[in-house]
Symmetry: C3
Subunit: 161 residues, 3 copies
């Protein structure tokens, strides 16, 4: 009996790690749809209260600053003109109640005068994730355009470390 | 003993949900390769018999109409000229034998006179999935180009609901 | 007791398959960040010693040839100018200690004289994976640009077979 219990305990640990990865995938795959819908509340629900969004040109501090970005220009202009915020498959490392997720993102914008979109930004992303009341949230997102800079490369190099 | 059985029952439920998500990923990640291969039978196998594919410009009703699309022009022209149908990571919500999967898709086409591709369409997608004889299939795909329209935004906003 | 043990054995098998798929995802999602960071050692760690990387214009044989590619031109030029190597969600079939993973990849390069990137290559990929000392590695990558050729289509058509 104790033996069965010990075996079950071991499985619980393994299932928990798989569930954590699936939950982090769920949080991050909800980001693009929410931000392209312009749904500021749905975006805000994905970040911790004290979240930081650090992009090339500015740093947003706090959940309110991030949702304000969604509600205002230029973000709303991008949506109205036609845009897509996409990611590629995310590399995830879980460590207890924190995790690091690394991926690329694309910001595509519609060309108003031709039947096509342009690739405006290709960006390196690091998401520092934190489990809050059982839900995985984004505590910090660091994003650097892949313009050849050392900073973007260093961010990507830290994915597995 | 009963206690171990109850614990095992609980794990079975958790594993089943993870397996469902993995199976839905498998169905959806098979779509792009099948459609770019022009393999109409492989595409058809991913949809239910009564499937509906609702895109901006028309609605295809039934598995035969969908595979016919793969077999004919303009789809075959896209393939011959060079194209790629890509998705980004899919947001999945499972509810028993149905599920909703939301993501972006890209349709990239080769530029015949330059060494490059163009982004022809960036699209919001909702896949209503159904379990049929133990296999997850696409029962309905709704796709709207992200051209600033309210309809595309509303589709994305429903991802988590 | 035996009954609980038999049930646990069955769960172990199911969890192992889910873990294998997650581990393959981890290997493949580490590729883009490592190659865009220009981190040749991190790239090399993802391939078997006898790995083969077969692309349209040449075949690299052995781990050293692959890491040499990362260290040298033209790859280093792409990085300095700004580039992103992205994948889309990977279709995975596991068979014991080997697996086949199929997906698209994108190579995006920054346009030096405009605020944008161009899609240089859209490619069909097949990764033949092998478990080596408990770690999933790339034993062979076959990549063909989606330029309408029969070879690229055939590669994609084999995803589920």
């Amino acid at each position: 009996m104790a033996d069965a219990d010990a075996r079950i305990d071991a499985l619980v640990e393994r299932i928990r790690l798989l569930e954590d990865k699936a939950a982090i995938q769920e949080t991050l795959s909800a980001y693009g749809p929410a931000v392209d819908a312009g749904d500021a509340d749905a975006v805000g629900a994905l970040w911790t209260e004290d979240a930081v969004y650090d992009i090339d040109i500015r740093v947003m501090e706090g959940n309110d600053a991030i949702t304000e970005m969604v509600r205002t220009r230029p973000h709303q202009d991008y949506i109205t003109e036609g845009c897509g915020h996409l990611m590629d498959p995310v590399h995830i490392r879980v460590d207890g109640d924190t995790a690091v997720a690394t991926c690329h993102s694309l910001l595509l914008r519609r060309n108003p005068d031709s039947d096509s979109f342009r690739v405006w930004r290709v960006t390196a992303n690091r998401f520092d994730m934190r489990r809050v009341d059982g839900t995985w949230k984004i505590a910090r997102r660091t994003a650097r355009v892949l313009d050849g800079s050392e900073e973007a490369r260093a961010l990507l190099a830290r994915a597995s470390r």
